[in-house]
Structures are given as C-alpha cells and as structure tokens.
C-alpha cells in the first residue's frame, strides 16, 4: 500500500463529505436563518429588491413592537405550563402502564396491550368534535384543564417505555419480590432509575408535541390570556398588511424554548428513540 496515495484519497473524501454536510445544513437551516435576519431588519430594509439577506445591524424594534402588541410572555408561560404538565402526566401514566405490560403477568395482558396500540390508529380528527363537546360540557374551555387532560396518557410513550423495561432482566424482579420488595417500590426504586434514557426521550418528545399543538388550543381557547404561543403568533397574521419583520420576531421568540430544549436534549432523544423504534 502506498501511504501518500491513500492519504490523498482520504483527504479528497473528507472534503466531499464536509462540502455535502455544510451544503445540506445551510439549505435546511435557510428558512430559519433568513427569518432571524428579517427579524432584525427595519421596514425599509425588508421591502428592497433584490432582497437583503443580512440586516444592517441588530435592530431590535421588531421585538419591541411584538412584545408591546401581544402578551408574548403570557403566551410562553401558558405553553410552558401546559407542556410541562402534560409531559409529567405522560411520564407517570406511561411508566405505570408500561410496567404492567413489561414486567407483570396477568390475564388479558395481550388484549389490553392491543387496545393501547389501537389508539395509535385512531386519528385525532375522528375524536375532535366529541372531545370539543366534552370539554365544553365540563366548562373546561379557556381553562388549562381542557388543554391538558386529553393528552396525559400516551400509547406511543407506553410502547416505548415497555420496550425499554423489557430489557431489564426478569430475574431482578423475581429476586426483589423474594426479598419482599413491593411492586410499586420495585418500579420506583429499580425500574425507573434504570430507564432514565427512555424517560428522558419521552419527556422531550411529549413536551415538543404539546408545545407544537395547533388545532386543539385553537378550538378550546377564546380569551387572549389563555392562548398558547402557537395560537398567539397566528394573530400577527390577522393584521391588514403583514409586517414580516415583526412577525419573524414573534416566531423567533416562540421557537427559542424548543430550540434550546432540542440542542440540549438531542443526544438523549436519539438514544431513547433507538430503544423504542427499532427493537421490535
């Protein structure tokens, strides 16, 4: 083998790989980067042709305008409260159910598991109208309960946790039971600590899903103070002429929390989904 030649080939390959990585990354990120640039521009800057891709400076007027026109902090607080509560609820209900499916033996287990999975096949739009009627009948419109309650159980999350719990050796359960460890204590003190990666994934996934909801919060909120950030943003589009710099400032404010969550938790998300989606 001639060393210099292989080295040259490797360098060539690396160049192509990095070129591809950078090009695809820029292409994918372009809408966000462009939106970010627009949010720093003045009204004059965004109307010029050919369009500008970089702002003249970090002009924060759009952010000030949006923050003065809409109660963005309140919207963010609503979304944060709802998403966090749903996330915790899902972690609790899914852990309990996954534990029953993965570790306990009981009659009808296959049947009930099938029932859980069947909920994945029932599209949201079929349940939409009756759910809206239920929430209305209970007086839960414009109420956090109406935004939270329908989502605190998750078949997908239960399935994911079950796949993970199945990898915990059954002997551990038998040994703990013989030592007099009750089943709830076994779940809390042994299974859950061992399953931190899967729980982390479910937490991030559940949070993002809830944060990004659109149709349901649109239906069950009317008052301004109860809107989530996704619905609140929509009101920036209802003006006579859309001023895109203000709108983009709103979008950037709305996506910062989830961007941070994703950048911090991305590794976690990948690791947990591996366990859930692939091990069939």
């Amino acid at each position: 083998m001639s060393e210099p030649q292989t080295f040259g080939r490797r360098a060539f390959q690396l160049t192509i790989i990095y070129a591809l990585l950078i090009a695809t990354a820029l292409f994918l990120l372009f809408p966000l980067l462009y939106g970010l640039a627009i949010s720093f521009m003045t009204a004059d800057e965004i109307t010029v042709y050919p369009p500008k891709f970089l702002p003249d400076g970090l002009n924060l007027t759009s952010y000030e305008t949006v923050l003065s026109r809409l109660p963005i902090p309140r919207y963010l607080f609503n979304s944060l409260l709802i998403s966090t509560t749903v996330m915790i609820g899902q972690l609790v209900t899914a852990s309990l159910a996954a534990y029953a499916f993965a570790i306990r033996r009981f009659r009808g287990r296959g049947l009930i598991f099938g029932l859980f999975l069947s909920t994945l096949m029932i599209p949201w739009e079929v349940t939409l109208i009756p759910n809206f009627q239920t929430i209305q009948a209970w007086g839960w419109t414009d109420n956090y309960l109406g935004l939270i309650a329908p989502f605190v159980a998750t078949a997908f999350g239960t399935f994911m946790l079950r796949q993970f719990f199945l990898t915990i050796p059954q002997e551990l359960h038998d040994a703990a039971t013989i030592d007099g460890c009750g089943s709830l204590r076994y779940l809390v003190q042994i299974v859950l600590p061992l399953s931190r990666p899967a729980l982390g994934t479910l937490a991030i996934y559940g949070f993002l899903q809830t944060w990004n909801q659109f149709l349901w919060p649109l239906l069950v909120t009317n008052q301004k103070e109860m809107r989530t950030i996704q619905i609140g943003l929509n009101y920036l589009l209802n003006e006579e002429t859309i001023s895109f710099n203000n709108t983009m400032a709103g979008v950037i404010l709305a996506i910062i929390p989830t961007m941070v969550l994703l950048i911090v938790g991305q590794r976690q998300l990948v690791r947990g989904l591996t366990a859930g989606a692939v091990k069939g």
Binding site: L32, S183, V270
Partner: protein, 320 residues
C-alpha cells in the same frame, strides 16, 4: 411477609408464600389479585383513553347518524347513513379526498428519502458530526405553525425570496399560494421541511442500531459502498423505514396548521384536505353530524391504508 409499599389495597401475596402452598384455589386467587393490581397500574391511561379516544370514537359514529340543526333549535333527526351517502356522492368531498391523497404522495416519499439521505450522511464518523446531527434534527423543535409563518415569508410573491432565487436562475416567478397547482406543492414543501427532524432522528437511530460486524465482514468480502448499502444497510433498516412510513402517512392525513396558515384550503379548494373541510363544516357551518360522517369515512380510509401497509410491505420487512 408484609407488603412494604403503599399499594396494598388489594393485598398482594408474596411470590414465596404462594409457591409454598400450591393449592389450585390459592393460585387462582393469586392470579386474580395479580390481574386486579395490574389493572390499577393501567387505570390512569385507560381512563384518559376511554374518555378522550374510545368514547369520542363511538360518539362520532353516533353523531354521524343524525342531521344537525344549524339554527340551534335542538332538532336533530335520525337520518341513518344518509350523510355518508351525501358525502361520498358530493364532488367537493371527493375532491377533498383526492387532494388529501395527492398531498400525502407529495410529502411522504420525498420526506423519507431526504431524511434517509441526511441520516446516512450524519452516520459517517468524521469530526464535528455531532453538530450536523443537531442541525438536521432542528426542524423538530420548530412547530408546524411557526414554520408555516416563516414559509409564508419565503413564498411571498411580492418580496418573496424563493421567487428571487428562481429569477436568478432564469426561471419565471411562481404564484406559490394563489396558483392552484403550485399551492399544494407549497404546503407540501413546508410539511416536508417540518417533518425532516423527526424522520431524521428515527432513521439515524435505526442506522446506528446496525451491528458494525456486518459492515466489517462485507468489506472483508470485498463489497463496495453501494453494494453494502443495498445488501446490508437497506434490509437492516427496513423495520425503521416501515415505522417512519406509517407515522408519516398518518401525520400527512392529519395536517391542519400549515393549511390553516398558508392557504385556508384555497385557492379554489386546491389545498382543501379533508381535515380542513371537517374543521370548517363542524366549527363554522355547525354541521356536526355531516362533519362526523366525513371524519368516520376518513378514519376507515386510514385504517385500510395502514392495514395494506402492514400486509403488503411488512411481509417484506426483515426483522433482525
């Protein structure tokens, strides 16, 4: 032995004691207790599913059998399957189904292919790859609602940057949101972008689950990269691809926010997918019964599609 935890509502016997007295009756009692306790664990989820998924499913079917009273006088005569008949015969509902299918065909295959390409790229072991993985996953952190607003800016016909790019390439401008043929593509492109993050993450984790030894032995046997991809990567990735296919299809059939924000079903109903027309029928025209019939039909179609995907495609999926 006593129960150490607080769940002793049902009084679970310890395994050792039951084993020491193997009477048929006590074994049966034990299994009944096991079942009862297990049901307690399942109860929170079952209540939520019961109230917000199973009950509404049957309620929708029930509602679909009654005509609605748009004037709110409380008269809702039983009409049987009439509204199904009306929906299936109505040109606008059929057009809606057509648009939905077309939209699914635009978004699902392309969305999976692009994400697969990115996942293969991001699975290469080069320095700094973690950064690119985060970038490719990033769209999952942008809600479809927020992404739609950004794309509204890109598609803008007056100052839109997309048309600027087309013009620089010597191509004519496209009226992205007002030209019927372009509008569905405009919605589809945004949906593909918004879906890439999830597909990418799942496919990447699928790629990382393929054992390294398989690649090594193939390389020793002298297989080239294309051959390795076809004979090892793709077959091993099939279960993951199948999972992504099912999830993407179901998602495509439920798309709402992007249509609400970008086109409101227009122009000339070119993007009026079934979900959007259900929304308008139920919450603006107050035709709850008719909207329910439309929703049930859509549900059956999704069920059939998923069943076909399972029967036809899963048979070829190789589970390691």
């Amino acid at each position: 032995m006593r129960l150490a935890n607080g769940e002793g509502l049902v009084g679970e016997q310890s395994a050792t004691r039951a084993m020491a007295r193997p009477h048929a009756s006590s074994a049966r009692a034990r299994s009944r207790r096991e079942t009862a306790i297990s049901l307690l664990y399942l109860l929170p989820s079952l209540i939520v599913f019961g109230v917000f998924i199973f009950y509404p499913l049957f309620k929708s079917i029930y509602l679909s059998l009654f005509a609605s009273d748009p004037f709110g006088l409380g008269r809702t005569p039983f009409v049987g399957l009439r509204q199904y008949e009306i929906a299936l015969k109505s040109q606008s509902y059929r057009d809606g189904l057509g648009v939905t299918v077309l939209y699914t065909l635009y978004t699902v295959p392309l969305g999976i292919l692009i994400a697969l390409g990115l996942a293969v790229l991001a699975n290469l072991r080069v320095r700094g790859i973690g950064f690119f993985r985060t970038v490719y996953a990033l769209p999952i952190g942008v809600s479809v609602g927020a992404a739609s607003i950004v794309f509204l800016l890109l598609y803008n016909s007056r100052a839109g940057v997309l048309n600027y790019f087309l013009n620089t390439l010597g191509l004519p401008s496209v009226e992205w949101l007002t030209e019927p043929r372009a509008a569905l593509w405009a919605v589809a492109i945004l949906s593909i972008w918004a879906g890439i993050g999830f597909n990418f993450i799942v496919l990447l984790s699928g790629l990382q689950g393929i054992p390294e030894e398989l690649y090594e032995s193939a390389r020793i046997d002298g297989a080239n990269n294309a051959r390795i991809f076809r004979s090892i990567t793709l077959p091993m990735l099939m279960p993951t691809l199948f999972f992504v296919l099912i999830v993407s299809t179901i998602n495509a059939f439920q798309s709402f926010a992007q249509i609400h924000i970008l086109t409101k079903g227009g122009p000339a109903n070119a993007t009026n997918v079934v979900v959007y027309s259900i929304y308008r029928e139920a919450f603006f025209n107050f035709q709850t019964g008719y909207a329910s019939a439309q929703a049930v039909i859509l549900f059956v179609i999704i069920l059939i599609l998923t069943a076909i995907q399972f029967l036809v495609i899963e048979r070829r999926v190789h589970y390691a």
